[in-house]
Structures are given as C-alpha cells and as structure tokens.
C-alpha cells in the first residue's frame, strides 16, 4: 500500500536535551524521519528544544518550533498547524511520553490528529510492567518470575517456586540499598526481612536472578500489513546485570547456534506482532548459556539507542524505514537505500564483525561510582567494524579517545591479584583491561569466566590478543632482525615465523605504535617493513547484503584482507 494519501502534514516530536542514556541517536532518528517524510511529499512540522542538534536546523522541517516538549506547547502547535498525523516513536522516551499525554488530554482527538506508527495501546502494553507480563503470558513468551512482597508471610510464594537464585530489591529506598541475592530459602527470608525494614513503603520486589545469562537484542520492524523482519541481532559482551548501553556489544551475535538465533528471532517477531507495533522495536532477551531457556527482559516499542547502533552496524536505515511505515507504506514498497536495487524488506546479512564500546564520563566525574549496573551511565559510544572480533575491538578501543590505545589502561597493572579478581567480578568501566591483565598474570579463561560470567568465546579472543602481545615481547630481537634485513629477496622465506607473528598481530588489530613499543622496532621502520611484506589494510564496503548485490552507497571500513573494493 503506498503512503496514506489522506496525510498531508505530520508533526514530528524531537527529543529535547541530551541526557545520560539518550544521546545524539534521537537527533539522528528524528532527522532521518523528517527527511523520509518529506521525500514522500509530506509537510513536516517539528518541535524541539535542543539547540545543539542538526534536527533543529532550519532546513530539516517545513516548520520548526523551538519550544518545550510538553502538552501545553505541543497542543498549541497542533491547534495552529492542524497536522494530519503525529510521529512520536522517533524521539525517544520524551516523544513517546508526550504523545501519550497528548492523547490522554484529548488533544489528538480534538484536532483530528492521527498518531502514526505504533498505536498508543501497544506502547502502553510494552511499558506497563503488569500489562506486558500478561501479554507475554498470553502469547507464551517467558518473562522472569517475579513477586511483589509487602509482608513476610508472602515470602512463601517465591520460596516455594524453586527458583534460585532470586534477586531481592527493596522498593523506595535511597540508591537501592538493602537488596541482595538469595541462593536459598534462609537467605531469602533474611534479605527480604532486612529489605522490608529498609523500604519506606515496606515493599520488596523479588525476581529470578539471571546471573551469567547472555543478553541478546533484536532490532525488529513491522509494517501495517504484518510483515515483520529483524534488522540486526546483537550480543552483549557483558552478561545480564549491565545495561546494554553500558555493555560492550557485538553485532551480529557470536556465540549463538542457528537454532538459538532463530528461537530468539522468532520470539522477537512474535512480540512485535502481538504488540501491533508499526515501525521499529527493540527486544532484549536473556538466554541461559546452558540450555534453550530464555526470558524476555524488555521491549522498547520505538526506535532506540540500540536501533541507531543497529542501523550503523548493518547499513539499514531503521528510522527512515520506520517513518515510512508510519505513513502507511509497506516494507516491500520501500527501497533499500544502500543497494538501491533491492527493497527494505529483507534482513541484512553482515560479513564483518561490529564492536561497540560505551564512552563513560568518569574522566569528568572523578568521584563517581564507576560500577556499571542496570542504570546506564555512558554518554556516548564508538563503533568499529572489522573482519575479526579482535580487529574490531582494538579499533573501537582506539576510537574511545581516552588515551588507551590497546590492551593496557593506566591502572590495571597496579592492582593486586585480589583487586584484579574483584575487578573481574564487579562490572565497571575498565573491566576489559582487568581481563587482559588477568591473562597476563596467567589466569585461565575458565577462571576469568567463573568470576565475570563473560562467555568464554569473548575471553578467548582477549586471551588471543594477550598471547600475541606476549609473543611480540619475547620476539623483539627477531622482529628487529627482520626489520633490519635489507638483503633478503624474500623476507617471508628467510624469516617465516617473525613474518607470521607480525601478520597475526596486524590482523588482530595491534597498532603500529604498540608493535613498535613492544618490539623495539621504530614505528616508521615497522611501517616500511609492513609495506615490503604487503601487510597493508584494504577497505571493504558495508552493503547490508554480504556482497550478494551491488551496493550504491559508499560506506567503508578497513581490514587486513585481500581485496580492496574502492
């Protein structure tokens, strides 16, 4: 179905000021939406209060209102502009809340404004804890068991459910103090007793504690014709317990078999369908690393920070497509903006590995608690793409611009063995470098896994990097000899092991400056050696389709591989 011809003008809600947990991704999404709607001939009216965005640029919308994002101001704009539709699912929580309030206040009805995209009902269902749990039960998708307890007598329910461990969280305490993890009935009663006493409203929440479970996300899209696709899945390096915005994340998932991948994909599509979402949606799932059991953790019934990451990781313009869906277009009527030959109705196939690392503001908030938990603390993030996880990770680290260029930060080597163990156990911003330090000190992957619950696959990759580092250190002389060999016609033949080590290090993303420091070969000499050996990077295209089709959009990353595509 082509776009709804009864729509002539659309009000787009911006996302307001940038706060922790909500950065430029909504600016990105909103701007893409404005462009997508105008492309379809619609008149776009925009409200936003943030000056430091491209969205409030004068030529982004047909009319821009610099106003607070609240009911009073939005109602006025609606009264004046009489838009036919309202697009609220691209401005983050701010836009969504405002749309809900406008509907509840009767403004949308009064002025005949249709909420485009996902219906409010769906948003409410996704966001209200109880409604969401009920819906999941209806469609047979599991949510972690949980109880709200206001009296010790009610503890028999969770105690007898046979679910261990349980996490106990007192409600309404300052900073969430007084909770804990109960591994058995006695501990449950003890912690809950303490928690009830601490809670200002004598209330504790008890929930299955998914310790060490994998955290997986799916970015899904659906149109009004019920066609639904997944744009991208992502796997968190950090297991459950760390907000996905504070996690190191890979796309696509790395440790899931096809069966696990498809099981969670199917669940995600079932959810987007059951909610009736028209547009984009983010589903967060938790998967037992030891069985097929999984739980639905959270659903964001809108374009989110993860969607922005998924868009850039795959080349698939989620916000753009979501905007077109919102005006009635179907996925199979929207062009794939990258290939320009296929349609938006497909699932991107990646032939590279994406690593995202969050950027935290602890350099500015020196005294702040650097532990990362379920409330996001990062201000920004970097993404890197490579043909290997190691390469992408090393590039992402260098992109952080925080002075760390590789496997060592400034503090991990100063920690005692006991402190290292603690740093592995308690997630904080620089855990990555505690892990590399642990491997340097000879800790086994199993030991690090036992402390951190991080999947051994990721840990093996880190240990591989540390292995290379250590081999480089012990082969300094060999590398100097190699770099100084001016006579040999065939360096690979005369120094096979040294060349192989150098190649391995570059493929794994070791920067020349690090290689130089470790090996003692000056950086410039190292570079010319690499050129002689042909160990030079090439560029590959991000094309949404693993080269199956020719792509029109030139979006590149570097890697150490054979063919340069430009």
């Amino acid at each position: 179905m082509p776009r709804d011809k009864s729509l002539n003008s659309v009000l787009v809600l911006g996302s307001g000021p940038i706060i922790i947990g909500q950065a430029a991704e909504f600016d990105y999404a909103g701007s893409q939406a404005c462009q997508a709607l105008r492309e379809e001939g619609l008149r776009v009216i925009l409200i936003n209060s943030n000056p430091a965005t491209i969205m409030t640029d004068a030529d982004m919308a047909d009319r821009t209102y610099i106003e607070p994002l609240n009911v009073e101001f939005a109602a006025r704009v609606i009264e004046k502009e009489r838009p036919d539709g309202l697009l609220a699912t691209l401005g983050g929580q701010t836009g969504l809340n405002l749309a809900t309030q406008l509907a509840e206040a009767g403004i949308l009805e009064k002025y005949g404004v249709r909420l485009l995209g996902t219906p409010l009902e769906a948003i409410r269902k996704a966001e209200d804890r109880e409604e969401f749990r009920n819906l999941m039960k209806q469609i047979g998708e599991p949510v972690p068991e949980s109880w709200i307890v206001t009296d010790e007598s009610q503890l028999s329910d969770p105690a007898s459910a046979g679910i261990w461990p349980l996490i106990v969280r007192p409600a309404y305490t300052l900073g969430g103090t007084g909770g804990g993890i109960a591994y058995n009935r006695d501990e449950l009663y003890e912690i809950a007793h303490r928690g009830l006493a601490l809670s200002m409203r004598r209330q504790v929440m008890i929930e299955r504690y998914l310790k060490g479970w994998k955290e997986i996300e799916y970015e899904v899209m659906r149109d009004a014709n019920d066609t639904a696709i997944t744009v991208c899945n992502m796997e968190n390096f950090d297991p459950m317990g760390v907000h996905t915005g504070d996690s190191i994340v890979t796309a696509p998932s790395q440790t899931l078999t096809d069966r696990e991948y498809q099981m969670l994909r199917t669940a995600s599509l079932k959810i987007i369908r059951s909610l009736g979402i028209e547009g984009g949606c983010n589903v967060q799932l938790s998967l037992d690393p030891k069985s097929f059991r999984y739980y639905i953790i959270e659903v964001n019934p809108r374009v989110s920070r993860s969607s922005a990451l998924a868009s850039k990781a795959t080349g698939y313009p989620i916000a753009r497509v979501a905007a077109k869906i919102a005006i009635g277009m179907r996925l199979d009527e929207i062009e794939n903006a990258v290939t320009r030959k296929t349609l938006a109705c497909f699932e991107p196939a990646l032939d590279y590995c994406v690593v995202k690392i969050p950027r935290w503001p602890f350099d500015k908030f020196v005294g702040a608690d650097r532990r990362i938990t379920t409330q996001m603390k990062a201000t920004g993030e970097v993404m890197a793409i490579d043909r290997t996880f190691e390469g992408a990770l090393m590039k992402a680290i260098r992109s952080l611009e925080n002075g760390i260029i590789g496997l060592s930060n400034k503090t991990a080597h100063l920690l005692s063995d006991i402190e290292i163990e603690e740093a592995l156990r308690v997630p904080a911003d620089e855990r990555l470098w505690a892990i590399t330090e642990a491997f340097r000190r000879g800790m086994a992957v199993e030991e690090v896994h036992a402390l951190s619950d991080i999947d051994p696959w990721f840990l093996n990759k880190l240990r591989h990097l540390v292995d290379i580092e250590m081999r480089l250190k012990s082969n300094g002389t060999a590398l100097v000899r190699l770099a100084s060999d001016e006579k040999s016609d065939d360096l690979t033949a005369s120094h096979p092991l040294a060349v192989r080590l150098l190649r391995e290090a570059k493929f794994a993303g070791f920067p020349d400056v690090t290689l130089a420091t470790i090996s003692g070969v000056p950086e410039l000499k190292l570079r010319s050696l690499r050129n002689r050996l042909g160990i030079v990077p090439v560029y590959k295209q991000v094309d949404t389709c693993s080269a199956e089709f020719e792509a029109a959009t030139p979006y590149f990353y570097s890697c150490y591989d054979l063919e340069d595509e430009r």
């Binding site: 069966r259 069985s291 179907r330 199979d332 032939d351 591989d561």
Partner: protein
C-alpha cells in the same frame, strides 16, 4: 598448511588448509547466512558444491550432535575466512576443524571470502577446487577435465538407498516395514531427492509419520504405503536431469495432496510443463524476501537453490503463488483446483528463519480437507 582455492576461470586464492588434507572440487557457491554452518554442511542440496560462507567468523559455537540435517557432511568443500579453534556453546561436541577432519572434508580458511563472493556474483558460479598439494596450473589442468556440474545427477548420490520411516519417536531414520501400522495421525510419503531431517522433524510435529522413499521409487511403490499426502523434497543439482522423477510425479498428481519444496517445487513445475534455468549465482542464505501473491504478505525465507522455474510454460491449472522480491523469480506454485502446493524455499528452516513453518500447516489443511 598452505592451501589454494582455484577457480575454473584461472583466478585463485591462497589460504590455509582446514579439515582434511587433500583436494576437493565442485561448483563454488556462496551462502550469506550468519549462523547455521553445521546445517549447511549437512544439507544434501549442497552435494557437488564448495560452499563459501560470507560471514567471516565461522566455528564459534562448534558442532553438536543435534543440528545435523542428513546422515553425513554433504558439501564437497568449505571456504571460510576464519575458523574458530576454541568454540563456545553448551551443546558443542567438537570444533569445526576437528569435525571436518574427522569427516575427511577438504576445506580452506584465511581467504578473503568477500572477494570470493564478489567474484562469484560477477562471474557466476563455476567449478573450483581446494587443494593443498598442487600448483595453480596443476589444479587448473585437473579442473579442466572435470565434468560440468550440470552433467551429474546428484539426487542419486544423496537419496536414501532404502525407504525409511521417521516419526515423533525417532530422531533418526528408522527402518520402514510396509506392513507396520500407523503411529501418527497422518502418513506422508516423501520422495527423497536430498531431504533435510528438519523436514521430517517438522512433519512429525504436525503429527505425521513420514515414509522416505529413494528418488528412484515408482509412483506405485509410493502409493503403496497409503500416504495421506506426498511430499517432494529439496535436493541438489540441475532439475533438467531429473526426467524419470518428473514422470513419477506426473503419475502422483491427482492421487493425493502434494507438497513440493525447493527441488520439489521445480519438479512439480516440470510436471506441469515448465522449464528451469540456471541463476547466475543462485539464492543461498537466510534473508530472502518472498511475497505470497495471494495475501500480499512477505516472508523472510531460508533459501538454497541455483535454478529457477520459468513460469511461462506452466499449464494444466498450475500457477505462480510466490515470488522473490529481490529478483522476481518464481518462489512457489499452487494448483487452481488440485491440492498441490509448492515453494522454492525452506519451510523447515534449519538454518534460517522459521517464518514459513506455517506452510506445513497449509499442507495439513489440504490433506485434512481432501482426506
């Protein structure tokens, strides 16, 4: 150990040997799925082919005992960018390289799989070889003597030698005794041109027991098992080589409800007058959009085929029911009157999206109406 991947057209890629040492040859194709290498390896439709996987990190979750789609590894060879030596998954039984080595599959790693994909995209599929003990010229000379992929009938290679039975109680082929009574609500007779176990598992979930017949079975042998429905399986190779099977199917038409999948779709098409043509580089992956022309709905499908039906010749009430949104090729047929449906893609998934599993349900509907 150094290995070479040499193409019929003279291009070659240098990598490292993976799995068994030696030589393998076949038609080189690529698959863009990001997961499912184990299912791909054991998919009979890849018989006679060297599969290049576009996702660069392969072997991450190793190999397990469950996700196997036939009785052996079916691909001729495998091409990967990186093979993970230390897999991580709770079901993992062995690493990919051990599995390949144990099964004597000659594979190659450390090559630019994206470059290979682009080459195949541009030049089309062709014969290639993986070799660890030849020069490029030697390998080329050997390739030049190899018969073309189209000349072989791979269904004969992959089909079951004897009929067997699959029901809910089995997770592997069980002996079929034509005298034994039914164990499920419906009985399906399946003409095995290269069936994947997940088709049988899926049918079992719909309370069907399946009798799997060699592709050489006659229509009377098949009908003798008193099936409620007949299924034509996927399989490898050029459909144009399968005249006898097409003839068998012609005899089955009108007898029972028929479901064709993949090669089964093409065989049905042939039985209704259509011809097939070779695609330049086929459809292999987990992300192909297919539109149901009846409902307008689009499904993301798992695909693996190198040939497509030419819809022009279709006759006797057969019509196109599904098309591929990427290139418009035929993805499914439906008979206007008879209970015959078929799709070119994989309702059994494995690997790939399970969106089309409902298609088995449609077949059940046809059976239950007709029966």
């Amino acid at each position: 150990m150094r290995a070479l991947l040499v193409f019929q057209d003279g291009s070659y890629y240098v990598g490292e040997s993976l799995g068994a040492i030696g030589r393998s040859q076949g038609e080189i194709v690529f698959n863009t799925g990001m997961t499912g290498y184990q299912e791909i390896l054991s998919d009979p439709s890849y018989a006679g082919q060297i599969v290049n996987l576009t996702y660069p990190l392969i072997g991450n979750y190793g190999i397990n005992d469950d996700d196997i789609e036939s009785r052996r590894i079916q691909v001729s060879g495998l091409v990967v960018h990186h093979c993970e030596e230390i897999p991580s998954n709770w079901r993992c039984g062995y690493s990919l390289q051990d599995y390949l080595a144990k099964n004597n599959i000659v594979a190659i790693k450390g090559v630019d799989t994206r470059a290979i994909t682009r080459h195949v995209r541009q030049k089309g599929v062709m014969l290639a070889t993986i070799t660890s003990d030849e020069t490029v010229d030697e390998a080329l000379a050997r390739l030049s003597k190899m018969p073309a992929y189209e000349t072989a009938d791979f269904t004969q290679v992959v089909t079951t030698p004897e009929p067997y039975l699959w029901n809910l109680n089995t997770s592997a082929p069980a002996p079929y005794d034509h005298k034994s009574g039914r164990t499920a609500a419906r009985r399906i007779a399946l003409l095995d041109c290269g069936v994947k176990y997940n088709i049988l598992r899926s049918l079992a979930k719909y309370d069907c027991e399946t009798v799997v017949f060699p592709c050489t079975a006659s229509h009377s042998e098949i009908l003798a098992c008193k099936p409620d429905g007949i299924m034509l399986s996927p399989g490898p190779g050029d459909p144009a080589n399968l005249h006898p099977i097409v003839e068998t199917v012609k005899h089955l038409v009108g007898q029972k409800p028929i479901l064709g999948v993949c090669l089964g779709n093409q065989i049905l098409g042939a039985a209704f007058g259509s011809k097939t043509f070779k695609l330049r580089f086929g459809h292999r992956g987990s992300n192909h959009p297919v539109k149901d022309l009846n409902t307008g709905k689009v499904y993301i499908t798992s695909q693996n085929h190198g040939y497509a039906l030419d819809p022009d010749g279709l006759k006797d009430g057969m019509e196109v029911a599904h098309i591929n949104l990427n290139d418009g090729t035929v993805e499914g047929l439906r008979h206007k009157e008879l209970p015959i449906i078929s799709i070119q893609y994989h309702p059994e998934a494995s690997p790939g999206p399970t969106d089309s599993a409902y298609f088995f349900g449609e077949f059940m509907g046809l059976i239950d109406q007709g029966g």
